[in-house]
Symmetry: C2
Subunit: 134 residues, 2 copies
Amino acid sequence: MSKKCKYAFKALAHLAKSYPATHCKTAEIAHLENIPRKFLELILLDLKKGGFVNSKQGAGGGYYLVKAPETILLGEIYRLFDGAIALLPCVSLKFYEKCKDCPDEVACGLHRVFLQIRDQTLKLMLQKTVSDIL
Amino acid sequence: MSKKCKYAFKALAHLAKSYPATHCKTAEIAHLENIPRKFLELILLDLKKGGFVNSKQGAGGGYYLVKAPETILLGEIYRLFDGAIALLPCVSLKFYEKCKDCPDEVACGLHRVFLQIRDQTLKLMLQKTVSDIL
DNA sequence: TATAAATTCTATTAAACAAGTAGGATATTT
DNA sequence: AAATATCCTACTTGTTTAATAGAATTTATA
C-alpha cells in the first residue's frame, strides 16, 4: 500500500472521531497523525473528489466526513488511491486487464489461485470500514 | 505482482511439466510462455540463487527443478521477487518495518485489519504450490 | 472592509523501481 | 574448433512515489 493510501486511512480515522460534530483543519490532522502537511492537502482533495469528505474554506474552515464512518469501506479508499486490490490485472474486478502472454485465462493456473486470494482480500476490504480502524 | 514474479511462476510451471525427467532451455521457455528471453535469463538466475532450480551450461544444457513442484510454495517465490506479502510493512513477517508515523502499533486500527488480510493471504500463498498452477 | 485563516490549484522535483536490452565471458558437448 | 547454452555486469527508458513550492481563492471576523 502506498503511503498516500495509508495517510488517507489515518486522516479518515481522525475525521471519524469528530463525526458528525465538528470539522478539522489540515494542519491539525497533519500534526497529530504525523503526515507531511502539503502532502495531506492533496490527499484530502482526492478524498473530496471521491465524495468521502467535504470541506469549508476560509477562517474556521476544515474537513469533515460526508458519510458515517461505518459506511466508508476500506476497499473503496484503497481503490481510490492504489487502484486494483487484486495482485494480477487479469483477476481484478474494477481494473481488469487481459494478460498479453496468456492464451487462455480459464485454463491458467495462476489465474485460478490469485482469484482465490483476491476474493478473500476483497471480502475483508469491503466488509471493514473506517469505524473498524479507530 | 511484478511481471518478473509472474514470469517466474510461469517458468516454474513450465519446468514442473518435465520434472524430473528432462531440462529446458531458456529460449524454449521464453518462446512457449511468451516471455522476453533476456529478461527470463535474469529470472532463472534468481531462481537458481534462491535454490529452486539448477542448470547445466553448454550445448544440450538448460534448467530443471531442484525440488518437486508440490514442495515449492508460491509464497516463497513471491517473496523472492516482490518482497513482502503484507500490504503494510508493520504487518510483514519477513520484511517487517516499524511505521515512523505510528506511535503505538498494538493500538493501531490499520495494523489490526491489515494483519488479518496478511494472515489470509499468507495462508493461501504458503499452502498453494507450483503443482497447483499447472 | 482589510486581514488573517484556510482550502484549492498547478507545477516541479528527486529518488526509486519496473521492465526490459546489450554484449561479452564462461562452460560444455559434439 | 565450433556450436550451444548459461552466466554476469551494465545500461536504458519510462513510470511511480513521496513529497515540496507558491500562488489563487474563499470565508470569518475584528
